[in-house]
Amino acid sequence: MIDIRANISSTKAHNFFLIRPKTDYAFNLAVIHALLNQDLYDRAFADLWISDLKALQQFVKPYTPEWAEKETGIEKERLLAFVRELAEAKPAVVWHPGWMTADTWIPSILSVPSTSSMPCSLRGLQGRDAPDQHPSDVGRKGLKKFVDLYPKPQEKRADGVGWRYPHFDSGPGSSTSDSKRSTLKTPILSRPTSPTGTTLSWAFRILSLSRRSFRSWICWFSVTFSWSDTAWLSDVVLPLSPYLERESILASKNGLKPYFFVRHRAAEPRFDTRSDWEIISGLSKRLGLDALAFNSAEEVWSFQLEGTG
């Protein structure tokens, strides 16, 4: 466990490294240095699956455990002992990069999570026996996707993904970059943020910044079951039934044995709330997007299961 403070998890950990704030990157670099320098990595795996390993070897040369000790406050002997444990525990090592390590500045976004996965890559763990088999990996078709019903918009995205930030993943997008939208003279388009999973305003550190950023939007809709800051700042709130009171769309779980699953509601919805599919279908009906205008949960499920065999 690596943290800047002692907490309950740290008291349970076999190894707890109380590092100086913001020095995770130094710690990771020294671990990579030790793995490579002491030949504790899986050479066969690296030859097959890691490109430019020599560049990494060259890069981490100055980042010795001695050097890291001055930055992180972790004695080099402890770091080296930890690296030896990593090597012995192969292949049962999972290195979680931690939450919020990809914060603040773009270069740091790239540093901490990517160096966190590198020790696993060097141990030959990346992708092997990992529970990420998709339906197609076991010769099956996945659930039919709603997103394929309409062509993908071609306009420039408001969050800058694909043009201002060509290196950002287009899947999650960048909610915080949306706030820069008001300065753009380009067509405005962003992917919707997940109606249930994301409290968008929390992507901004400071409430006054959220308010300013929200004001720059023409209209903001929230589909939500909670009166969060995002809902508070929205122009329109469409109340969502809590998950025990709504029928959900079918979902696919990837894993060593991938499967589809359904979640039924346990109770009738209360008050003026709807399931997410009802809200989206209701809006689609009124907007003339007939392909998305389903009349019942059964219709939604039948659509999803088309072609799955």
Binding site: Y25, A55, E71, L110, S226, K257, F260
Partner: protein, 124 residues
């Protein structure tokens, strides 16, 4: 497959046995199909794939690192309108080391102003 197939357990497995990949059967979603140390995507965006480490300065006097954690009362933004939980924890207060707070003459629960970069906020 129909929705009736889900009736028994709520789920439908797509394979009989778990599938383990052999080391030569892996795949990575990168242009080269490998774990890339040098990313062309980053380099062409003018960003180094391997970023030089920048030493982290120690905070000066009256400067502090700010961090945050979870509490056992609220769950992100979902519970802020729950009256009972709100009574338990109506505000997300700032914590400061007791000794440091005393040396600065700050009493528990007092309103303080914190400044970081260009932003200033008031907090208790």
């Amino acid at each position: 497959m129909t929705i009736r197939d889900f009736e028994a357990t709520g789920m439908v497995p797509l394979s009989k046995d778990p599938k383990y990949r052999k080391v030569n059967e892996l795949k990575f979603k990168t242009p080269s199909g490998k774990i890339e140390v040098i990313s062309k995507k980053l380099e062409s965006a003018g960003l180094p794939s391997l970023k030089l480490y920048e030493p982290v300065a120690k905070p000066a006097d009256a400067q502090f690192r700010i961090t945050f954690g979870r509490c056992a009362v609220h769950t992100q933004g979902h519970t802020v309108n729950n009256a009972m939980l709100s009574k338990e924890m109506p505000e997300n207060v700032l914590w400061l080391n007791t000794k440091v707070g005393q040396s600065m003459g700050i009493a528990d629960g007092e309103l303080v102003e914190i400044t970081g970069g260009k932003n200033t906020e008031e907090s208790r």
